[in-house]
């Protein structure tokens, strides 16, 4: 079967079970190019696990994940990344003891081998790119700050920046605005809308206001299975979704 050109990620019949408990249960999910997809669903629905499966952190029991014709289920993590999949973790995962600049630099996709690292030079192109990304994530005046000293929201942005600099074709964000202040949420929404141009983005989020602002299409998971899929409007009024997730 050849992939539809516009489909970047095709998850088919994906299942993973932990000691008999099926966290993801024969899931099918397709993400298109340039699409910003939001996945919602109750706590424990399997959202994070799906991302874990895509980026190779967890290995599937059965099923396939294809990213542009590449089968990801058996690739080592760093190859998946090199293929163009970037992933942000639920809690900010940055190098607290390095500066913002260094955080971004380490994520720049050059010199990824041992020798490459030893001979790596900060060229003007690289510097330029780092500055560009930094201003995109609102951190251009914090370049030399130790990442550990940033506020929670800034850390989240920095991690997004670290992914952006790799220019991935698929970007996955797990609860990017959890713990952010209201204004930061707004800025983040704006940021996501901006970066979804030219790539596909998967976002997991519980903040419905935020979802509304960014989602092209929403997928609802429940107990590892697909519960509903569609635009925000239809999903929000889906009685099943209200029942298990949104509440009355």
């Amino acid at each position: 079967m050849s992939l539809d050109k516009s489909i970047v990620l095709a998850i088919e019949d994906l299942t993973v079970s932990f000691d008999g408990f099926k966290a993801v249960d024969s899931l099918n999910l397709y993400v298109e190019r340039n699409e910003l997809r939001v996945i919602i669903g109750p706590n424990g629905a399997g959202k994070t696990t799906v991302l874990d499966l895509i980026c190779g952190k967890t290995r599937s029991t059965t099923g396939s994940i294809r990213f542009k014709d590449i089968e990801l289920t058996r690739l080592p993590e760093y190859r998946i990344v090199q293929a163009g999949v970037g992933r942000k973790f639920q809690t900010p995962s940055i190098y607290e003891n390095l500066s913002v600049y260094e955080n971004l630099e380490l994520s720049y996709p050059a010199g990824r081998g041992v020798m490459g690292c030893l001979t790596f030079k900060r060229t003007e192109t690289i510097r330029e790119r780092i500055r560009e990304i930094a201003s995109m994530i609102f951190l251009d005046d914090q370049m030399e700050t130790m990442a550990g000293l940033l506020s929670h929201g800034q850390k989240q942005w920095l991690e997004i920046g670290m992914l952006l600099i790799q220019d991935p074709e698929l970007l996955m964000l797990d609860e990017p605005v959890a713990g952010m202040s209201v204004s930061e949420r707004e800025k983040t929404a704006e940021l996501l809308n901006r970066i979804s141009a030219g790539r596909s983005v998967i976002v997991i989020e519980h903040d419905m206001e935020f979802v509304k602002r960014i989602a092209h299409k929403v997928t609802v998971l429940h107990q590892g299975k697909l519960l509903a899929e569609g635009n925000m409007e239809s999903v929000q009024h889906n009685p099943k979704v209200v029942e298990v997730y949104l509440g009355h």
Binding site: V81, Y95, N97, L98, E105, L106, R112, V114, C117, M162
Partner: protein, 378 residues
């Protein structure tokens, strides 16, 4: 030039440190001590290689190797094999049943030189082997462990087991290795008597220069992007992995680098002390090497040298003055350092000397991040 200064010496702080160290070991010590003491210091400085290697592997690579003695020993044995063959010429071994082979082989009824000893007739081979063998061995262990993501204490325990295995093998195969006695009675290097005073001075200086070079190489690695990557690895290994790096290959590299540096120390040990024995391969010396690095400050290359010197000088001084009670003093030293100077000798410098200088220069205090008490300490 600038990049040499920045990358190999580590900027101003590093260059000053290097300079002080160089003056201390290359000028001050030779002026202060007679050749006997200087030779002792030379011996300590060979351990410093292992400590520097551990700073890289443990301090920066974040994996605690409890088998660093294995590499020190491998390096030392390779050179010792060459020297032993040279010392076992037909004339000096004429009373043996089989003249021309090392004495311990004769005692063990070997009648011919084992094949794996043959190439060690060549000094070039011995030197290459002293560097390549440990690296290769480290690479094998590294690939086996890091590719499988063995880490933390499991890695430590495995390296310890490797040290135990090697000791048992070396001790058990005494016909081939000299057993527990080791390879003793080494005399000349290409006809050059290594036991004369002048030879000792030469070896001391060669050793000192090599040590400084080793530190510079490590500096270079640490100031390169790889150094920052190592820092990142210790911080968030998963993030590094998901930034597209093959984490294992970096750990393997650093482990091999540490191994080679330790091996140079072992080789220099053999030359300066005139023998090599399995008591460097085993678990206890490996732990002692960790202690040198820890006393030095774990993440300080130069600190490792001072740490090694401090511990060994303490050991020698205490045991000469109090042959019956010196263990108490050594134990006290270790505990004292841990309790009072959590970051070792380097911490003493960073935490006390530097702020003093900074205050003296009345710089603004920099904002530091206090470790979050709720975060798990691991």
């Amino acid at each position: 030039m600038k990049s040499f200064y920045e990358n190999w010496l580590g900027g101003r702080d590093g260059a000053v440190g290097m300079l002080v160290l160089a003056v201390v070991i290359m000028v001050a010590f030779p002026l202060m001590f007679d050749i006997f003491r200087l030779n002792l210091i030379g011996k300590y400085l060979t351990y410093a290689f292992a400590a520097v290697g551990l700073v890289m592997v443990w301090g920066y690579g974040g994996v605690l190797s409890l088998g660093q003695g294995v590499f020190f020993g491998l390096g030392g044995y390779c050179i010792a094999m060459f020297l032993k063959l040279e010392a076992s010429d037909l004339v000096s071994t004429q009373h043996q049943t089989t003249p021309g082979i090392p004495d311990f082989m004769d005692w063990n009824q070997l009648t011919a030189l084992p094949a794996f000893w043959q190439p060690f007739h060549s000094l070039t081979f011995a030197i290459i082997a002293a560097l390549v063998l440990p690296a290769l061995f480290a690479w094998v262990i590294g690939v086996a462990m890091f590719k499988r993501r063995v880490s933390g204490v499991y890695f430590s325990i495995i390296t310890q087991a490797v040290a135990a295995i090697l000791t048992i093998l070396v001790v058990g195969q005494q016909g081939y290795t000299g057993g527990i006695n080791g390879i003793t009675d080494l005399k000349t290097l290409h006809g050059w008597n290594i036991n004369t005073t002048s030879a000792k001075y030469v070896l001391y200086y060669v050793n000192a220069v090599l040590l400084l070079l080793a530190i510079m190489v490590c500096r270079f690695v640490l100031t390169s992007k790889l150094g920052r990557l190592l820092l990142a690895l210790r911080d968030k290994e998963d993030r590094v992995r998901f930034s597209g790096y093959d984490v294992a290959s970096f750990k393997i590299f650093i482990f091999c680098l540490g191994a080679v540096i330790s091996a140079i120390g072992g080789a220099m040990f053999t030359l300066q002390v005139g023998f090599m024995s399995p008591s460097f391969v085993g678990i206890v010396p490996s732990i002692e090497m960790v202690i040198f690095a820890a006393i030095g400050g774990r993440t300080s290359l130069i600190g490792a040298v001072y740490g090694t010197l401090l511990v060994n000088a303490g050991k020698t001084a205490f045991s000469e003055s109090f042959p019956q009670l010196w263990l108490l003093l050594m134990g006290g030293l270790f505990i004292g350092v841990v309790m009072l100077f959590p970051n070792g000798v380097a911490g003493l410098y960073d935490g006390w000397f530097k702020p003093l200088v900074a205050r003296w220069k009345s710089r603004r205090p920099v904002m530091v991040r206090v470790a979050d008490p709720l975060a798990k300490s691991e």
